[in-house]
Symmetry: C2
Subunit: 125 residues, 2 copies
DNA sequence: AATATACAACGAATAAATTAGTTATGCAAC
DNA sequence: GTTGCATAACTAATTTATTCGTTGTATATT
């Protein structure tokens, strides 16, 4: 699975939001200055070649939809990042950001609560 | 601050490891198949133009060093990611990976321990 | 049926990134 | 000082990504 280029990623973000959409609909969700219709159309077809999206045809018009979910992609993407920047350790990464105060106390408490639940669930097995 | 391209990132990873280095030394740390000397030299000069590295000159030879630390860059990079994929919430991101079992119980316990420490430290203020 | 409209497909033009050859200069060895 | 080597600077070539104009066809409108 390849990484998305910048332009590709923008289109995917829109498609993830829409679930499915025609080029016209995708275009509408772009901020100004919007790219040309053809630009989006091309990118979406490239994404299709690369296996990130597929489409359903209604006559000659195509409704595109993602083949990879935002969650799947972010999982893949973060794994690469954690591997490259934190020697593949989630713990190192999270600790780093906790210490850097990028995570608020409220967030940390919430995270701990969820982790306790997960740990309990895992250990119950 | 721009994002690094793939080739640029590889050079930066080496420079972060070396702390500082001549093109020749950077080249040595590359896996086979190593790029050409000139390729690394060019990339390092581009990195310099973009403000990611600088150099100290010894006569005609240049010793390059990062202007941005690996930690700084990863912070910037992850912030963008968290913003784009988890509506800017670290909590959402970490919870997601905890639930996805990408984080082991041992790691979670370690993370919780560190967070408890951080929370205490923050609250003490 | 003729015209207008909408859209996919194609492909050209440009821009950005990557790779490496060539050149020039300084230094070392002889 | 002449030769050879190392390396920075420059430049060319290639590849990949981005953007959008053009074309052809289907469908809707009159």
């Amino acid at each position: 699975m390849r990484e998305l280029t910048r332009a590709e990623e923008e289109v995917m973000q829109v498609l993830w939001k829409l679930k499915k959409g025609f080029v016209k609909e995708i275009l509408e969700l772009f901020d100004e200055p919007k790219p040309a219709y053809n630009t989006v159309s091309t990118i979406v077809r490239i994404l299709q070649d690369k296996g990130f999206v597929s489409h359903k045809a209604y006559g000659r018009t195509h409704e595109y939809f993602p083949l990879i979910s935002k969650n799947e992609y972010s999982k893949m993407h973060l794994s690469t990042f954690v591997n490259d920047y934190f020697s593949n350790s989630f713990e190192k990464m999270v600790s780093f950001f906790a210490k850097e105060k990028s995570i608020s106390v409220k967030e940390m408490e919430e995270i701990m609560k969820i982790m306790e639940g997960e740990v309990k669930k895992q250990k119950a097995k």
